[in-house]
């Protein structure tokens, strides 16, 4: 053997070795075979536990804030498990970090489905990231529940994606609700739009323009990752806008406010629910609120936003009290935040869906239960879910509020609507007055 031959031999043996390493890990024959016979158990479900998982950005640019969502969900599942689980089963929640990179989302979701054999995915975060896996989850008939993103794609066409469900109100209805409110209450305002350059900004703009297309004088888009928003705000200022509707993530809300301070730009602000977290944004801005009362989130005073679940600014709300208790008992580091409440809230909905699906848990049964009963699910949401066999979109409405010292003061009743040209109506279901059961577990 000469050296060249040996090199090639090495190449081949590396191929073989890696492959063998892969093969060893496979653990032999697939023993979780679903089987068609009666009494067979569902993937990811045993008598003692049900295993689910989700992908979230725990590292990278999108991680700040969002990485807290799974900790909230985990805290609620811990609470449920400590109280006997659902139908005697505890909930195992596997969290994978995709760093907001669709390539990783794809391989990690494969890992959840093929290796960890999860029963369903829950709360997976992000539009581009989830876009990478939605087809494959549906092809494999894995329930894909409560995607943490307000894109329409998760629920507007159950025929195409029968296993996927949205959860939060989609961005379009938020745009519609604030658009209508502006057209009725500020018909003379010159409206500027400050939008994230993706589906979030796009869907919201579509909703807003349905009502106040003529009032919009300027639309500026920023690219996530480029923190210099000075040129965009300068353009909004130059357009003469006196009301800016800002569909931004929290850090960009704060950056926008800081640049406006620098430019002396003082419009009335409306900030989308996603980007208005008063604790987070207010906390970020507090340091710069020269002369204002320290220790309050007063830098956002007068800013309007929307709300669809109660948040940390309402410590007397019975739901928030439950979440506080759950969080304290979970013993994890850090404070209760709105991101954690978000995670607990969809975890609550999931537990409810498990309850509704009955003792003989199957993937089909779970989806059926959400389609049949989801519209009447109790929970922290202010407006009912839209779940049915025709729509997998989540919460149907929200309430416009104005921030004062970090607390949202209601400006309107809870308004509900749907995508397209569906009317906006005041919610009469009484969903907003729902309080959690004594046990903290859905009944």
């Amino acid at each position: 053997m000469n050296t060249r031959t040996r090199k090639l031999a090495v190449l081949t043996s590396v191929l073989a070795l890696t492959a063998l390493a892969g093969a060893c890990g496979a653990g032999g024959k697939d023993d979780d075979d679903k089987g068609g016979g009666g009494g067979a158990t569902e993937v990811g479900v045993t008598d003692a536990a049900v295993t689910i998982g989700g992908t979230f950005p725990l590292t990278g640019v999108a991680a700040p804030g969002y990485s807290e969502i799974p900790t909230g969900a985990q805290a609620y599942f811990d609470y449920v498990n400590a109280n006997g689980g659902v139908h005697g089963r505890s909930i195992e929640f596997l969290v994978k970090d995709d760093g907001y990179d669709p390539t990783k989302t794809s391989s990690l979701t494969d890992e959840l489905v093929l290796k960890d054999k999860v029963f369903a995915t829950l709360g997976s975060l992000g539009t581009p990231t989830h876009n990478a896996v939605v087809d494959s989850l549906n092809d494999q008939e894995v329930p894909d529940l409560f995607v943490s993103s307000g894109a329409l794609a998760w629920g507007d066409d159950p025929g195409a994606h029968p296993w996927t469900f949205g959860w939060q109100p989609d961005y379009e209805i938020e745009g519609k609700i604030i658009g209508q409110w502006v057209s009725e209450n500020m018909p003379d305002a010159k409206v500027g739009l400050f939008l994230q350059d993706d589906d979030f900004g796009e869907d919201a703009e579509k909703g807003v323009r349905e009502y106040i297309d003529a009032q919009v004088v300027e639309a500026q888009r920023y690219t996530s990752g480029n923190t210099d928003v000075g040129p965009q705000i300068a353009a909004l200022q130059a357009s003469g806008a006196d009301l800016v509707l800002s569909f931004t993530t929290p850090s960009y809300t704060a950056l926008g406010q800081l640049v406006s301070l620098k430019l002396g730009f003082k419009p009335q602000w409306y900030v989308s629910n996603v980007g208005s977290d008063p604790t987070l944004v207010g906390g970020l801005l507090e340091r710069f609120s020269e002369g204002a009362v320290p220790g309050t989130a007063s830098s956002l005073n007068g800013v309007m936003t929307t709300r669809y679940i109660p948040g940390v600014d309402q410590p007397d709300n019975p739901w928030v009290q439950l979440w506080q208790k759950v969080w304290d008992e979970s013993g994890q580091d850090g404070e209760l935040t709105n991101y954690r409440i978000y995670g607990m809230s969809f975890a609550y909905t999931f537990v409810q869906a498990l309850e509704a699906a009955g003792e003989d848990l199957t993937r089909d049964g779970l989806v059926e239960a959400i389609e049949d009963d989801g519209g009447d699910f109790a929970g922290p949401q202010l407006a009912p879910y839209r779940y049915s066999s025709d729509s997998h979109l989540g919460i149907s409405g929200m309430q416009v509020v104005e921030l004062q010292d970090g607390v949202g003061q209601p400006v309107t009743d809870v308004l509900t609507t749907d995508i397209g040209d569906s009317e906006i109506a005041t919610d009469d279901s009484g969903q907003a007055d729902d309080a959690p059961p004594e046990s903290g577990l859905p009944e």
Binding site: L8, L11, T12, A19, G22, T71, P128, D197, D199
Partner: protein, 371 residues
Amino acid sequence: MRRLAAVWHSTLGRHLLVTAAAVLVVVLVVESVDDFRAVQLTQMAYLGIAAGGLTVLTGLNGQISLGHGALMAVGAYTTALLVSDDPVLPLPVALLTATAVTSAVGVVIGAAAARLRGPYLAGATLALAVALPGVALHFGETLGGEQGLRLRVPETPGWVLDAAYFVTAHDLTRSKYVAYLAWFTLVVVYLLLANLARSRVGRRWRAVRDDEVAAELAGIHLGRARVSAFVVSAAAAGAGGAVMALAVRLTAPTGFTLTLSLTLLTAVVLGGLGSLTGALAGAALLTFLPSVITDAGTSAGLDDIRAAELAPLVYGVVMVAVVLLAPRGLVGTLHAGWRRLRNPAVTPDPTTSADAASPGATVATSKGDTR
């Protein structure tokens, strides 16, 4: 028997024999693993294809590129556009087209890169890696913007299913079909790269890397040698990107951040620059190691978030350590150790260490510029 020996003694013949062996190994392995491992193997394959291209460029020609992630994006987007919901082109044609388009882009970038050296080239390709995702956002109508382009792997052709069933007596799943596609692409790409590296072209690349002046005196056109190396490397990256698009089922700007380019560089450095075996080993490490590290972190009591940061931390440390302690990379070091064990008296011959597909290649054997 003598005829076989004759085949073995011609470079092409030897490579073809090894290729046949590799195909056999691929079939055996893919058939013996479950669907999840098949998915992981696919990931290893597309990283390996692109890393193979990068290792040829950086190891053999001495040009560094931090922008190979962007080239993968070109291949991936081309594939995504060609393989839409209603495929007009068969997959192999789509893969070839993606490779061709990326090569064309490679000509342009390579022509620019040929004028740059060392850190200038690194910086320019770095800017390329950061800039290219913006193009997808700007042409959102065609390229899908932030959400990206979703693609479906076309139905596995009937004859492939039949052939697979005939050989293995199992039905071929979608993930395994993609794994086969990826690994056969890898085998073809590596065969071509190994042949090129052994040919006159490859010798010119190395000559340019080792000593510009001597190369020029020997009649080598420096610019042409550099551009050709870049184009070949880009073609491999394009093929890798195309396979990646099929494996990920989505092509979006967030999938092609600087991290991807750095990942490729990590793979070739870990494996050993200039060595295809090393590139493949590096790709294997990057595919299989993260979950091991993260799991180790979690079981050591770290929370999910901190455990998730462990993998990049380990990579970074290993990358620094490799450059400092084992500049020949993993494969090169193992190989040298092996040689020393077998033949303690002979010190490694430095002249063979710069060979293509050579596990013994050092990170870079000379300065490669005339500063």
